[in-house]
Amino acid sequence: MSKAINIRNLSLYYGKAKALKEVTLDIEANKSTAFIGPSGCGKSTLLRCLNRLNDLIEGVKIEGEITISGTNIYDPSIDLTNLRRNVGMVFQKSNPFPLSIYENIAYGLKIAGIKDKSKLDHVVEKSLKGAALWDEVKDRLNESAYGLSGGQQQRLCIARAIAVEPTILLMDEPCSALDPIATAKVEELIKELKKDYTIVIVTHNMQQASRVSDYTAFMFLGELIEFDETKTIFMNPSIQQTNDYISGRFG
């Protein structure tokens, strides 16, 4: 099966409000898939379903099925820790922990019970290199992560996410709080990362979606309107609504 994630008839309710309406979608492995759509269309909610981060919110009810490499992640027997280690996530606002740069990267591994110093050193270096941050921070690994700039902090969060070696990386508007230069760096990084990871990215920025993604899903009011290769969506959408949104007529 070349599809990394299969979403089948997924509906999500916040109390009585239905935020996702029977979404069905297959996401390819080692490609990057973008979710676009106006604010409140449910794209972030859908993303957070993929690592079950919505579970924590009071009053959320989920119907339908998501399978990742053949297992239903909403099966009661699933181990959340393993799932989230397999599905990493980068958030809209960079959220480094109040620890040193080194400790931030090593956090996921330490939680997993890895204590071997040389192994940790190796992973920290590898992850920081993978997030194109190593050269900038290698001399101050033991300083607080809060001393980094916004763009660096976001790349630190990416490094932290890939340190636990997930197969899937979720990104929730990773560049919305960054300036253009930092954005360009992170985008460059995403293009690099999709060689090794399946990337799902939520973005408001349509140029960004067209730049970094292979597939694009357009969502509106909790429904998946259209899903296709990015080229097709942007050049030749088959549904009028998509065309209107992309050409800026609404949203």
Partner: protein, 526 residues
């Protein structure tokens, strides 16, 4: 005019004035306490006053006033309580003929009857006698020598007393053992007790011998109005010639008196000497309280903030916690007495210390119960500020940690609670500040006017949580308002207040510095 009020500048003025007024009041309070607290230790000159009726009296001028005839009066601390019956006397200024400051006047601090003002006459050592007028230098030389001798004797006496208390401790243990042992063992114990008692007799004899050495040395003095008084070396704490002291000498004396105040045991029903046991009791009690209240408050707050299901019931619990902080402290004291002392303490006694009954071990007031009572009193403060600290941790950080596969508990332990540390410490600071100054609940849970022994000593198990203790706040109340000689104790009240304030400031400052360091660490966490 209307515009003027609408403009709001009057309110700016009003708010500013109110803020300044509060600041002034606080500053005034501090200045007053600092002034009186520190001036206690300053030795002023001792005047010899000649009255118009031809009589003389010596003493230190304390304050001025007016009597009911609107005449100017002045208060003199005349000391010599054993001779005059009171320490202070008011004189009408017009009755005073002249005032002189005699260089040879002697001030003797005694271990009973307060200070003595007068002139030296004779030093008797056994049969030998040194008359002051004949050889003044030799008189002081020998007196100095004998006071040094007294120090060595006092050290010997303390050593003997320590040995005796050890014997008492052993006797008490044997006594307890005897109650619950076989006949054979009982005989053994009897023999042991006899042996120990023999040792005790020897030690006691040596103790009396040492004490007699001091009794044999006598200092004869007379007051400015001609009354005679003989002091034994045992009575004399120190002597000085206040009117011939240089300014440097006075400064030296000043600091030695401050040192005596913070390091010595109290004398003369707490009105003289030092307050060391009270300082020790206060600090130890606050430390025990902090150790108890911190985990208690933090764990409760974590549950309320992280695990409890939000809703009406949780709000009700929060309201109750907040109201708990407003309950009068004496109510907590009564609760402590009923729950800790009679309830838990009484049960402990029956389970583990039944040999000692009917005299209670834990079933009576003690430092542990007082600390626990104060911990209850301050736990709401810690809960509230910890919750604030936990709330201030951004949601993004929680999500970040969860998304890396850590459980909620791991997230709490590794990220959230450390980040909330500044808030937690704020709670602790408030708790310490409140607990240090609290007196009412302590009065029924273990504070005493004079504790026979400290809560920490050299006998197993070293820390005696069941013991009663002294406390600076209670000391202030006791010395200032329960002492038969409150006028003489007044300086002591001010210095003790000052000390209590300084201790609160020190404890707070430590916690604040710690918090600021942590805040710096977490700075930038948005």
């Amino acid at each position: 005019m209307k515009k003027y009020f609408k403009d709001g500048s009057t309110y700016v003025w009003l708010t500013g004035a109110m803020a300044s007024l509060s600041m002034l009041l606080v500053a005034g309070l501090f200045l007053l306490i600092f002034y009186y607290g520190f001036s206690t230790f300053w030795q002023s000159n001792v005047a010899t006053v000649k009255l118009k009726d031809g009589s003389y009296i010596s003493g230190e001028f304390k304050k001025e006033g007016k009597n009911y005839n609107d005449e100017d009066t002045i208060q003199l601390k005349i000391g010599n309580r054993d001779l005059y019956g009171l320490d202070f006397r008011w004189f009408t200024k017009k009755n005073i003929d002249s005032v002189s400051y005699d260089k040879e006047l002697l001030l003797v601090e005694r271990n009973e009857w307060g200070v003595f003002y007068g002139f030296p006459k004779e030093l008797q050592i056994g049969n030998e006698s040194i008359i002051y007028e004949r050889d003044k230098d030799r008189f002081y030389q020998i007196l100095e020598q004998k006071l040094k001798f007294k120090k060595t004797v006092v050290m010997k006496i303390e050593d003997l007393e320590h040995k005796i208390s050890k014997i008492n401790y052993n006797l008490k243990n044997l006594d307890l053992e005897r109650k619950s042992s076989t006949l054979e063992r009982k005989e053994e114990i009897e023999n042991e007790v006899l042996l120990i008692e023999e040792k005790y007799q020897v030690l006691e004899k040596r103790l009396f011998e040492q004490a007699d050495k001091l009794k044999n040395i006598k200092l004869r003095l007379y007051t400015s109005d001609g009354l005679e008084k003989t002091l034994t070396l045992e009575n004399i704490e120190r002597y000085l010639k206040p009117n011939s002291l240089s300014i440097l000498g006075k400064i030296g004396l000043y600091f030695s008196k401050i040192w005596e105040f913070v390091s010595d045991e109290p004398r003369e029903s707490n009105t003289e000497g030092g307050v060391f046991p009270a300082i020790f009791g206060t600090v130890l009690m606050v430390l025990i309280m902090s150790i108890v209240v911190l985990p208690l408050g933090v764990i409760a707050a974590v549950y309320l903030n992280e695990y409890a299901k939000p809703g009406k019931f949780l709000n009700l619990v929060r309201i109750c916690v907040n109201n708990l902080a407003g309950v009068p402290s004496i109510v907590f004291g009564v609760f402590g007495l009923g729950f800790f002392i009679y309830g838990i303490g009484g049960t402990l006694d029956q389970l583990f210390f039944s040999d000692a009954l009917p005299s209670p071990t834990f079933g009576t007031g003690g430092i542990l119960w007082a600390s626990l009572t104060l911990a209850l009193l301050t736990v709401p403060v810690v809960i509230v500020s910890t919750e604030e600290g936990l709330n201030a941790v951004p949601k993004g950080i929680r999500d970040g940690s969860l998304a890396l596969g850590s459980t909620k508990w791991e997230t709490l332990k590794n990220i959230i609670i450390p980040s909330a540390m500044p808030g937690i410490l704020t709670g602790l600071i408030l708790a310490i500040a409140r607990a240090t100054g609290e007196v009412a609940p302590l009065m029924i849970t273990g504070v005493v006017k004079l504790a026979p022994s400290m809560p920490i000593d050299s006998f197993f198990p070293y820390l005696h949580f069941e013991r009663k203790f002294m406390h600076l706040g209670f000391h202030i109340y006791d010395v200032g308002f329960q002492s038969p000689n409150s006028e003489a104790a007044l300086p002591m009240v001010f210095s003790t207040t000052l000390l209590l304030i300084l201790i609160v400031i020190t404890l707070n400052l430590t916690a604040i510095l710690l918090r600021n360091r942590l805040k710096k660490k977490y700075k930038g966490m948005i």
